[in-house]
């Protein structure tokens, strides 16, 4: 392998982990060398940084490879690029990147050449690749989807917008997602070149108490759904007296239609690891687990690679950056169960049992994994912590709302023109995200409802779309923030049928530990089945609400108490539609079984 930024530049460079850990290691790699003065070495480092941008020969093609792009044929595009390079004999570097979150342009590639504006090409066919690249190299960017900045040197440049001129890019505030789609997720070097691990360096410089203070001032709240202030969690664990503590990064993301965590890990795994090391350093934990969802094979693979690299360069292991603190991370992949995403249930799974939630109290902060104090944070929360430590709390806290600072990655799907992951300040209205960023519904379609926060979130009618996406505002309307899911539902979909589909999901995913969730979801599904098949009476609606309340109040964990929310929120906002099914025995949209000839009714 050739020389990388992470290696020493000359024999004089002494701090080379793991043998010589040094607090200045990371800074030295990027701004350095700091340990000795040599213009030659400085030049070497600057040259390498430049190389990472434009490739070793001044030309680089980046192919986005993440689950989302692979789903629409990015693997073929990658092969086509490789083949083009081989056949043309050009000196071109081919690299992979993660995904921007602009999923409607998948599969996309980016071509850069020194002196030309870096251009992004959208919806690339493998057949077009050679044409695209050779045309770009000849100085014509007119076919590009967007360029990163203007140079004025390319032909047709002014026909193409820059990314910042595009509404759906400009309106985002990209903090945790700033590397997504920009760097190679399998290279620690590119992460460090973009300022990675400087947050950790700063955290170690400040010491645990000051880090907690900063997280508090930044108003960071848990991004997993509940919105619990992160600093309280960290402080509680820090104050626990125990020789062993754990940090668990929750990337289970079991909620259907959530994909922001997957995208974050696949595009920038190191930011999660950095956040975990900071959390470990602050709380005094020496071991971390990343709990990855069962379907996230690629994410797990990239994380494992990232952990290995971080270990190789002394960011994990004994004496991290010479701070005297040791930390290691293990990647644990879920075996597939919705309940595994619950913070205590995932302990059970790591311990080798069925992932049923535990009774609380005791809370994880005092008795978590293996009975030891444990910090469980969503991966996005940890990434935010890394951002706060790098950028400082003052800038971070100006973004977002009064009670909750920063941004949130939102997965938008359903009936919108531009589905994808968008990072917006907390408190941005749902309307801005759906209409402004995701482009609203396709031509000729009207939105009926927005599903907010996934299965345990709830439905908002289109008329309530002005509500800010905030931990305190959404519950007032009977829905929850959840893991930042927005699903646009148009008027061709039957709300009752969707509520039934959600309930079917809960029936199959309930862990079966407590009675209300195990039996209640089943009974609710049965009633919904009856409604969808035209065999119900008005009492059933009452019964549904009654059961829903029971589930909400009596269940053991948040998954059980969240299960009735889709039903309760739809009854609240779409009562007429239920009544049409119950009294008139018809479905206003004509999509659910009631309007089909053969009605299948199963218990």
């Amino acid at each position: 392998m050739s020389w990388t930024l992470m290696d020493k530049c000359c024999p004089k460079c002494w701090h080379n982990p793991p043998s010589n850990p040094c607090p200045k290691y990371i800074e030295c790699r990027v701004k350095g060398p700091l340990c000795h003065d040599s213009s030659e070495c400085r030049e070497l480092r600057a040259r390498r940084l430049n190389e990472l941008m434009f490739g070793r020969h001044g030309i680089k093609v980046r192919v986005a490879l993440a689950s989302c792009t692979l789903a629409v044929g990015a693997a073929d595009v990658y092969d086509a690029v490789q083949e083009f390079v081989r056949e043309s004999g050009l000196a071109v570097d081919v690299d992979i990147v993660g995904c921007h979150g602009l999923d409607f342009i998948d599969p996309w590639i980016e071509v850069v050449k020194k002196g030309l504006p870096p251009a992004i090409y959208a919806n690339v066919n493998p057949e077009e690749v050679s044409n695209i690249v050779s045309r770009y190299l000849s100085g014509d960017v007119s076919k590009a989807f967007a360029i990163k900045y203007r140079t004025g040197a390319a032909e047709g440049e002014f026909l193409v917008p820059t990314l910042n001129e595009l509404e759906f890019w400009r309106k985002q505030v990209r903090l945790v997602g700033r590397n997504c789609g920009i760097i190679n997720p399998e290279s620690i070097e590119e992460y460090v070149a973009r300022g990675g691990y400087l947050g950790l360096v700063r955290a170690i410089k400040k010491g645990p108490d000051e880090v907690i203070e900063e997280i508090k001032l930044a108003k960071l709240r848990g991004r997993g759904g509940a919105g619990f202030p992160t600093w309280i969690k960290w402080k509680t664990v820090k104050d626990q007296v125990s020789d062993v503590k754990y940090v668990v990064a929750n990337a289970e993301e079991g909620d259907p239609s959530a994909f922001s965590n997957r995208l974050l890990i696949e595009s920038d795994p190191h930011i999660v690891i950095e956040g975990m090391i900071i959390a470990g350093y602050v709380t005094g934990a020496n071991k971390g687990y990343v709990f990855v969802g069962a379907e996230f094979d690629l994410a797990a693979e990239r994380l494992k690679k990232a952990v290995e690299e971080a270990r190789k360069y002394g960011l994990l292991g004994d004496n991290v950056l010479g701070s005297g603190f040791s930390f290691d991370v293990e990647v644990f992949q879920d075996a597939g169960r919705y309940t595994s995403g619950e913070e205590t249930a995932l302990f059970e799974e790591i311990e080798g049992k069925r992932s049923s939630p535990r009774v609380r109290p005791p809370y994880p902060v005092s008795r978590g994994l293996w009975g030891k104090p444990t910090v469980v944070n969503n991966v996005e929360t940890l990434a935010h912590a890394a951002v706060i430590m790098r950028e400082g709390w003052d800038r971070y806290s100006t973004i977002g709302t009064e009670k909750s600072g920063g941004t949130k990655m939102v997965s938008v799907s359903g009936s919108v023109r531009r589905p994808g992951v968008y990072e917006v300040p907390v408190g941005t209205s749902v309307k801005t995200i759906i209409d402004g960023l995701a482009g609203g519904p396709p031509e000729g379609v009207k939105l009926k409802a927005i599903e907010v926060g996934g299965p345990a979130g709830g439905f908002l009618p289109a008329s309530e779309m002005n509500v800010p996406l905030d931990y305190d505002e959404l519950p007032k309307l009977g829905v929850a923030m959840g893991s930042g899911i927005l699903i646009a539902i148009d008027e061709h979909n039957c709300i009752v049928d969707l509520a039934r589909q959600f309930m079917a999901f809960f029936v199959s995913e309930s862990c079966g530990k407590c009675v209300p969730c195990r039996v209640g979801t089943r009974e609710m599904l049965e009633i919904l089945n009856k409604i969808c098949c035209g065999k119900s009476s008005q009492e059933d609606l009452e019964l549904l609400q009654e059961l829903g309340e029971t589930l909400k109040n009596a269940s053991l964990c948040a998954l059980g108490s969240g299960a009735p929310i889709p039903v309760l929120s739809t009854i609240r906002y779409f009562r007429e539609e239920y009544l049409a099914h119950i009294i008139e025995k018809r479905c206003p949209t004509g999509t659910c079984p009631i309007s089909r000839e053969v009605v299948k009714y199963e218990r």
Binding site: S67, C68, L70, A71, V72, D103, F104, D106, E253, G254, D255, P256, S257, A258, F259, R262, G293, A294, E295, F296, D297, D334, A335, G336, R337, Y338, E349, I350, E351, G352, K353, R354, S355, S411, S413, G414, S415, P419, G420, E451, P455, I487, I489, N493, L498, Q501, F502, F505, S508, E509, C511
Partner: protein, 165 residues
Amino acid sequence: MTAAEPKHLKKEGTKPKNLIQALKTIQQVEGHVSPESARAIAQQLRVPYSEVFSVATFYHLFSTEPLGKYRIYVCTGITCYIKGNMENLKYLKSVLGIKDGHHTSSDGLFTVKEVSCLSCCSHAPVVTVHMPDGTKRIVGRANPEVLQKMISELRHLARKKGWVK
């Protein structure tokens, strides 16, 4: 098959906490968790057989019955649901001749199952295929036409390997 167990399970040692890891290994090597394998795990990790069985049936990753060479998972997450993945599921089951209540085709080549979400909702409806070599192929924007093409391709592959005539 039982004789081969301890070799697969070398890494897992004898700690009960490795139960899920052991099951994952067996699932990967043998394609399913048979009662014999479950018993072998129970013996090696010193966990009750009932516990092994309870965990094996709890998680979606493990199957107690043999699966097909190509395992097709159809996403029924809400986005895929509204984009019509149920039609795809029906289509797959009918074209592969899998009856209601069954998952595997009679030639043992294909298994079709539902899965809650594949996290590629932007390209809904999504179907994913687990290949025999452990790799995964995600198919976005699926419709009967795309699936038809995919299945004939997989059949062709299988014929090449001599799994079917």
